[in-house]
């Protein structure tokens, strides 16, 4: 690993190179490549079952790819080997659709536990850090509440705080608002927007096309285990593009009655 003082290596922060994955005899990822520069937010869109979640898990090596490799800051995940892959993972924050908070721990301890048990930070320090991270996502005063006592939006914000506390270099978000009631989506999107504007590098799977196109430079469209289209939202989501992305996204927009490129996250 790099020491903090040395300059970051040139090239993209995250580089996914030719990743393939089969499970149960089915090819779920077919030589997927993508890269993210420091501070960039990219959005992954596509039909359900297209392999988006599988891709995020492969980037994280929660699922080891059959082929290809993932580089974070120039460091190869494959070369880390089984033993060191855990330190690789610590640098990648993962946000899940259904939050996956630890039900037996208060919000504060949800954030603190990995600091204590993985990073071996003393309890007092870990709790203090957890308090700060909860404040950062607007959850001051909720430290003592348990997941079952929180709303969906609050749970997702705790899970973001939990990931942030590990000081990740990059965040992977897998449909962070899909399990939320519509009125709770805004509070989570606001946090994500703040993070992005604060310079966090993020790869986000979402169907919030309006939000996404507002924040991202590039949309990646994924279908049948492959990234089939990519480009700036203005281009891909324009009706004239005749893209699969436009076709796919316009289905959502028909429901909400909005133009794909026009919608914005609620301002605070």
């Amino acid at each position: 690993m790099r020491t903090p003082s040395s300059p970051p290596p040139p090239g993209p922060l995250l580089n996914v190179v030719g990743v393939s994955k089969s499970l149960g005899g089915k090819l779920l990822l077919d030589r997927v490549s993508l890269s993210l520069n420091r501070g960039e937010l990219k959005v992954l869109i596509g039909p359900s079952g297209g392999g988006k979640s599988t891709l995020l898990q492969c980037i994280h090596f929660l699922l080891a790819p059959d082929e290809g490799d993932v580089f974070l800051d120039g460091v190869s995940a494959r070369e880390m080997g089984k033993k060191n892959i855990r330190s690789f993972r610590q640098e990648i924050g993962m946000i899940f659709q259904d939050f996956n908070l630890f039900d037996h721990l208060s919000a504060q301890n949800n954030v603190a536990i990995a600091l204590r048990r993985v990073k071996k930070i003393p309890k007092k320090e870990a709790l203090e850090r957890a308090r700060l991270e909860l404040r950062r996502v607007g959850l001051s005063g909720k430290e003592e509440l348990y997941p079952a006592q929180l709303s969906g939006g609050q749970k997702q914000r705790v899970s973001i705080a939990r990931a942030l506390a590990m000081d990740p270099k990059i965040m992977l978000l897998d449909e962070p608002t899909s399990a939320l009631d519509p009125e709770l989506i805004g509070e989570v999107l606001n946090v994500i927007q703040d993070l992005s504007e604060g310079g966090m590098t993020m790869l986000m799977v979402t169907h919030q096309v309006g939000f996404a196109s507002h924040l991202t430079e590039e949309i990646l469209f994924m279908e049948n285990g492959r990234i089939t289209e990519s480009g700036p939202p203005a281009l891909l989501l324009g009706e004239a593009s005749r893209s699969r992305t436009y076709e796919f996204c316009s289905k959502f927009m028909e429901i909400s009655g909005r133009d794909p490129a026009a919608a914005r996250p609620s301002s605070k």
Partner: protein, 232 residues
């Protein structure tokens, strides 16, 4: 006059209760120490090992506790004793009490592993995945995320196991462990007042069950996760 005899024998039977408690607590502890890792390995360990552990569980679930007791005492114990005699020249003999504890503990480990396994499998796997994503090792994720929740969920099943084990512990009398049942039998044989002494033993078992179940309910209440429904 005769009822005076019975009352005078109460402390003697109560003394047997002490052995019963030692036996049950010891066997539960042994069963816990084996059963919990067993369950964790069955649910989150490597496949081949999980299969092997399944065989262990089937064996101890399939053999009656009395048979197990004899196998331990006359089989396992005498072979260990003769091994020590022939290799070290020392004559040792293990107590019938420890044989009872071992047999009950092994049987309980199989049942407890199934209780814990059910609880572990009922937890959403996503939490395990989230723990790995945060950099936990697999054992770490089991220890800090899965088990604290699984243990809470196990309390009702465990309460059941306690009350069954308490009553199973009565078989220990066949090897001469002086627990409740053995003492009741001695008194009954000498005085011919079978009904009275066995009824006394029954009341004692009932009282121990009652106290144990109350204690476990208390623990269940105290460890309840805020916001989630009460388990018992």
């Amino acid at each position: 006059m005769e009822s005076w005899e019975i009352i005078r024998s109460v402390p003697y039977i109560l003394g047997g209760g002490l052995y019963t408690i030692l036996l049950v607590v010891g066997a539960l502890a042994l069963g816990f120490a084996i059963g919990l890792p067993l369950a964790a390995l069955e649910a989150y360990g490597p496949r081949p090992l999980a299969k092997l552990l399944g065989v262990y569980v089937w064996f101890f679930r399939g053999v009656p506790i009395l048979v197990l007791l004899f196998l331990v005492f006359f089989g396992l114990y005498s072979s260990i004793e003769s091994f020590i005699l022939s290799h070290f020249g020392a004559r040792v003999s293990f107590s019938p009490f420890s044989a009872s504890l071992l047999a009950l503990g092994l049987a309980s480990s199989a049942y407890q592993s199934q209780i814990f396994r059910g609880a572990i499998l009922s937890l959403p796997r996503g939490q395990f995945k989230a723990a790995l994503a945060l950099g936990f090792s697999r054992p770490g994720a089991v220890l800090y995320v899965v088990l604290p929740q699984a243990l809470r969920l196990s309390i009702p099943g465990w309460t059941n196991e306690f009350s069954i084990l308490l009553k199973d512990s009565a078989v220990a009398y066949v090897l001469g462990t002086m627990e409740i049942m053995a003492r009741a039998k001695i008194l009954a044989t000498f005085t011919y007042r079978h009904v009275a002494y066995y009824a006394l033993a029954g009341v004692l078992y009932f009282a121990l069950t009652f106290l144990g179940v109350r204690l476990l309910r208390y623990i269940s209440r105290e460890t309840r996760i805020p916001g989630l429904g009460q388990e018992i």
